[in-house]
Assembly symmetry: C2
């Protein structure tokens, strides 16, 4: 098991307590409200019709008519993409989410981590997370299209792109054969705050998406996930309100962190990363208030925080940082 | 997409109507009742603790202390097992569930279909579905242990074994290294009637299960599936009552079929297969009553029926067959 946020049971084991606020992930803590579900989503094998209805909403929500497959989270895409072709040389723009390297390595890829977008050039397969986790770097569409011409396949993980559709390549994936092959991953769990549902999407050229779909098998997405995803992606009002709220709240979180003497490294609408004098001490300070945060095995100073949910959570964080 | 039962939307397209009884699968139509679920199963990443709690119940329910991994349905096991070792020569005891051959072929295995258990001998990997779908053949533990000694890996798909624990090898999987390597697959969706949940299990030796777990990734099972699986596997009363009910009802279904002039080929507690003069005509006769059944591309006479659920469903089937 690789190092991840969301390991709240680990925090409970060490610090005790049962009233934790988990800010160790970038999962929205004010989730789309799951309604009562029809019994058939539990009892029946997921149907073609349910899958098609979900894909139709995904096309609208992610503004893409490219071939698309629904998966059990963006994570399933991360695991399957390394098997699309024979393993070769992959480059990953780092620091970033560690599952990409792990999944590629498992499938026999040689991996080089690079720290500038242009250094991806020459790779058989290149990975960019946009906006990036944890440093929040946002790449423009054009900069990605430029680099796509110089790699075999460009994988763009847009797990945190929902509030910034202007950076997304989902609409162009699959139409770029002459300029390089782009596969875009989207997450459902993070922005919609429903990580337990396990739902994500891959957009790309027809052949790649058909192969991902074949590898994922007949029922990769559970019945409840098909139903919830369809309804949530269709709820434009909730999406607009949530983007506006998150934009305000990131400002508020940065202000709280600044008062604690932490400086902003970068972030997205769903998490913020800060430089602290001592990341472990910063995590422990929050953990004593039963607030779980994310630090990284490769940094002694960085700490990442998701956004608190309700007023009580904001109050507790403000107090812990004051 | 391969030929499957459960394609009820296909039936609706051809025959119209919205009040179908889907008997095309072996999924129990009187499912374990899903209770209200805590919000965290939707919002949070599935935790280690939730996974462990589920595996503890699975060990008890399937009477096995062998290494075990929870998967997104037995189907995920079927898809991952062909990747446990380099592809070689596989033999499958047929006729049987078609996903095994498809998954092995996709991963580069050479496949030979055999019609007697002893003919599996010599295979690098052998597949037996026990009890078998669709003909209902039940193999004894001893006969499987005997053949396990003569193959590289014996995969026993026990998707329909819940009512007949006496045939299960789950308790012996992982302890048979000297007698051949056995991997046992269990399904949650069929007996518990919750196919939309996507949950299944693989039992086997430590190395194989660790590798399956690695390939399945950190969150193969959704939060609701972990919670529902744990509670349902723990509900022994429901399981006992359901086995007793199914045993009675298979007798009733066989009697209805006999009156229609169909002869029993075999079956399990969850489905029955019959020989008819003309399978297509038999399916159409039921479809006109909005009852969906399963026929097979390789047979002109076989039809398979799951068991109806409530009284109204039994009445409609009785009328359609009278």
């Amino acid at each position: 098991m690789r190092d991840h946020g969301g390991n709240i049971d680990h925090a409970q084991e060490i610090w005790g307590g049962t009233n934790w606020i988990d800010l160790s992930t970038g999962i929205n803590r004010r989730p789309w409200p799951v309604p009562a579900l029809p019994a058939r989503v539990w009892t029946d094998l997921p149907t073609h019709a349910a899958k098609s209805a979900l894909l139709k909403e995904a096309a609208r929500a992610f503004a893409s008519d490219a071939p698309c497959v629904a998966l059990a989270g963006a994570q399933q895409g991360i695991q399957l993409i390394p098997r699309l072709c024979a393993p070769g040389y992959a480059r990953i723009l780092t620091p970033t989410y560690n599952e990409h390297a792990a999944a590629l390595r498992t499938e026999g890829w040689q991996i080089q981590e690079v720290s500038a977008l242009v250094d991806l050039a020459g790779a058989d397969l290149a990975v960019v997370v946009n906006p990036n986790n944890p440093d929040g770097t946002h790449h423009t569409r054009q900069s990605l299209l430029d680099i796509a011409r110089h790699v075999g396949v460009l994988v763009v993980d847009e797990s945190f792109a929902d509030p910034v559709p202007e950076v997304s390549l989902a609409g162009l994936a699959g139409n770029l054969k002459t300029e390089g092959n782009v596969i875009v991953l989207r997450s459902f769990g993070k922005f919609w705050g429903l990580a337990g549902v396990r739902l994500g999407f891959a957009f790309g050229d027809g052949a790649s998406i058909a192969r991902l779909s074949e590898m994922a098998g007949p029922w990769p997405v559970a019945g409840p996930a098909l139903e919830i995803g369809r309804a949530a992606l269709n709820d434009c009002d909730w999406q607009h309100e949530t983007v506006a709220r998150l934009a305000q709240e990131t400002v508020r979180l940065d202000a709280l962190a600044a008062r604690a003497g932490w400086s902003l490294i970068g972030g997205t609408h769903l998490f913020r990363s800060y430089a602290t004098p001592d990341a472990l001490a910063a995590r422990d300070r929050l953990a004593r208030a039963q607030i779980w945060s994310r630090i990284f095995p490769w940094s002694t100073t960085w700490i990442r925080l998701g956004l608190p949910g309700d007023v009580a959570e904001w109050d507790r964080l403000a107090q812990a940082l004051s």
